[in-house]
């Protein structure tokens, strides 16, 4: 059997794959068909909050806010559009597409990425949800464990911040345990 066309994605997110496959075949032979397939498929996951690992309302940072990262790459032109630490727009992959299609840049981050997306007429809205706030409150109630700090005081293995840098430390003794990676907690 022929192997192409094809859509393949990490994790078992069937809705995303089905949508990309539908778009790939719907636009068979059309210009940019693989682009619309990838953007459309990933957009479905952003809307469905696949495993709470994609899209708004999941995995809050230590301030309690959800942020999004996304990238789109064209394997023919080698053009890339990407956004990092996007905090006010839900459709990260479409903002990345706009970076690719409407700028000469590759990666926009933080407030600048939000401002760009809003200028491109994406809705400005919070990415937090009741669930993400509950996750964050539970974390703070447990002394902010686990976290990503090391070589700071107070001891990040037992206390919340704010932290300050230690001036001396034993590099072998102060490696903090990493947060456990899992189906709902990964990049």
């Amino acid at each position: 059997a022929p192997l192409l066309p094809m859509v393949i994605n990490t994790w078992n997110f069937p809705e995303a794959n089905e949508e990309a496959w539908r778009l790939l075949n719907l636009e068979k032979g059309g210009v940019g068909q693989t682009r619309s397939a990838v953007v459309g498929g990933i957009s479905i996951c952003e809307k469905l909050q696949c495993d709470m690992a994609v899209g708004y309302g999941g995995n809050p940072d230590e301030r309690g806010d959800t942020s999004l990262d996304a990238l789109l790459m064209d394997g023919g032109t080698m053009e890339v559009g990407a956004v990092g630490d996007l905090r006010r727009i839900k459709s990260a992959i479409k903002v990345a597409q706009h970076v690719l299609e409407h700028t000469l840049h590759t990666l926009l981050v933080g407030d600048g990425a939000d401002h760009f997306g809003i200028a491109m007429r994406f809705q400005n809205e919070s990415l937090n949800s009741d669930e993400s706030m509950a996750i964050w409150q539970n974390w703070t109630a447990h002394n902010c464990q686990p976290n990503f700090w090391r070589n700071v005081y107070p001891d990040p293995r037992t206390s919340c911040g704010p932290y300050k840098p230690l001036t001396t430390w034993d590099a072998n003794a102060t490696l903090s345990e990493r947060i456990e990676i899992g189906p709902d907690n990964h990049d």
Binding site: M6, L68, G75, I93, D187
Partner: protein
Amino acid sequence: TITMAAIDEEGYIHVGTSTNGLRHTISGRVGDASIPGSAAYADNEVGAAMTTGDGDILMRFLPSLLAVEAMRAGKTPAEAVELVIQRIRKHQTFFDVAIIAVNRLGTYAVGCYGTGMAKNNGEFGYMVSSPGQPVRTEWVPC
């Protein structure tokens, strides 16, 4: 994170990623999903690769770029995936990654390392659609 590749009949490729990252990261942290060559990379002349896992580790090795360049150098997708895992293992004892490598003809391989990537009986799941076969979940042991 979701990372995805679409390839048409002529071998035209796009890859994409989207994630809300890890929980409880330090504010301002950006993961590997935004970094070209880390969570995804594509070159129509060769193929594409996608990864998922701990972005703070993965972005240091640009694993998707490594996999595509390995295929450019003549390795099969399976060999490319193994090369990437071994490259990271040289420097990291504990890490979690799943990597998909697919060549421009549609032949693919998937590798997984680390218990965190397993969702079902120690296996990592991924989705594939191709002609003559329905959208399907496949699994690879970690």
